[in-house]
């Protein structure tokens, strides 16, 4: 019999209880997901069981690829202008800064986004969710961060969508983000969520992040000052890249 939402809820709750106990017992609040997170069924066979090997001797990983104006076009950041017509849905502006762990801006680096349309459907052949495709929305965008580490996208608020993890599994609305730091070891792929989504508590991917404070760092804030009158609603979301301490000492590029 396929798993029910109740089965998943219990697993999520049990793991959360164990995590809370560990923190109460003096362990530090975990900052990242556990790759081994059985409520997300696809993770079961796709995470290493052996511990990661700590590498002191790295040089290649402390540097990283460089992107420039040749790698993006000005239009790439406006996902609402990639087709002749206007996409359907709620137009939004998403902006924020990419920072390293010491708060310095990550300059001139590539930010890529992809997302479902307003109905919760990806422009991807394997997405068979019976919600309409929007001929005026593909849902991919890119930009380079500016001198303050700022990125900026204009897009459409994505819809929630169902998936097959368990019966009645629905992903909270999210925008996928891919971010480069100045070191390859700072690479990040994550998802930006929207405030107060009622689906948070049911979603094993969102809950794979074991602490409440860390989960909050994936949720954008509605920012009225970022809204454009009679045009779009604004969301602000800053991204902090993790990375080896050696990268914290280097001058930001």
């Amino acid at each position: 019999m396929p798993d029910s939402q109740g089965d998943i809820d219990r697993e999520i709750a049990d793991i959360a209880t164990a995590a809370a106990k560990a923190v109460a017992g003096g362990e530090p609040e975990p900052e990242h997901v556990s790759r081994d997170y059985p409520p997300y069924r696809s993770s079961v066979l796709r995470h290493p069981r052996l511990p990661l090997i700590l590498t002191e001797e790295a040089d290649t990983e402390l540097r990283g690829p460089v992107f420039g104006v040749t790698d993006v076009t000005e239009l790439d950041r406006d996902l609402t202008r990639h087709h002749p017509g206007e996409p359907l849905g709620e137009r939004i502006t998403v902006s924020g800064r990419v920072l390293d762990r010491s708060g310095r801006p990550v300059r001139g680096q590539l930010v890529e986004v992809w997302q479902a349309n307003a109905s919760g459907r990806y422009a991807h052949d394997r997405d068979q969710h019976p919600a309409p495709l929007d001929p005026n929305f593909t849902g991919t965008g890119r930009c380079l961060t500016d001198d303050e580490g700022r990125y900026h996208f204009t897009t459409i608020k994505p819809g929630a969508y169902p998936w097959r993890n368990h019966v009645n599994a629905w992903r909270p609305a999210h925008i996928h983000f891919s971010v480069f730091g100045t070191a390859f070891a700072q690479r990040l792929v994550t998802q930006m969520y929207f405030p107060n989504d009622p689906l948070f508590r049911y979603d094993p991917i969102f809950n794979s992040v074991p602490s409440e404070s860390a989960r909050q760092r994936m949720i954008a804030a509605y920012d009225h000052d970022l809204s454009s009158p009679e045009w779009s609603l604004g969301y602000r979301w800053d991204i902090v890249l993790d990375g080896p301490s050696a990268t914290w000492m280097e001058e930001g590029r």
Partner: protein
């Protein structure tokens, strides 16, 4: 500051992240070009058809100043223009195919310093993988590399590509299981 947590790349990155020529760091037919390839497997030994791999490496002289232009865009119609193949960018990105296989055409990286053993750094993403994994591709086993030297022979072997015919080098990535790849962290 506290880092933003990682989340899986999910199943639908395929129309956003991979791009034409993403695995072609070296021009086809170049006498020094090598093809590095392999499969990605899960813990049941099944190939993973929805993994995304990124590669970052030194140039043949050992330089780590990768040039821009890995994802060069046509500024007129927004399509991908391909690398100019004059500048070496050091970065490649490929998705595994339906068989779980990937391939990159590149130059062998040079040593980044005296006594350094060259390698390609690899970052692995996949549906089901909540946080990317780092590993390396070495072209030969060497006791002078501190990482290789610190590993038991069977673990070490997961990082060293096997030379094949025609300048090919194969390395399979096992996310889990008996032949699990050595994955790295940096602090």
């Amino acid at each position: 500051m506290k880092p933003t947590p990682s989340q899986t790349v999910g199943p639908f990155y395929g129309y956003a992240l991979p791009y034409p020529g993403g695995g072609e760091l070296a021009p086809a037919g170049h006498p020094d070009a090598v093809v590095v390839h392999g499969f990605v497997y899960d813990g049941a030994g099944e190939p993973v058809p929805d993994a995304l791999l990124e590669f970052w490496q030194a140039d043949p002289g050992g330089g780590l100043d990768g040039e821009p232009g890995s994802m060069r865009k046509d500024q007129v119609n927004r399509s991908f223009a391909g690398r100019d193949l004059v500048r070496f960018t050091g970065f490649a990105r490929v998705a595994t195919d339906a068989d779980g296989q990937w391939a990159v055409r590149t130059f062998r990286p040079g040593a980044t310093g005296p006594g350094r053993v060259p390698y390609i750094s690899v970052c692995v993403f996949a549906r089901g993988l909540l946080h990317h994994l780092y590993t390396r591709i070495y072209f030969e086993d060497s006791a002078s590399d501190p990482l290789l030297a610190s590993l038991e022979p069977d673990r070490r072997a997961t990082l060293v590509a096997t030379a094949g015919p025609g300048g090919t080098h194969r390395l399979d990535i096992h996310l889990q299981g008996e032949r699990e790849t050595v994955f790295l962290e940096f602090r």
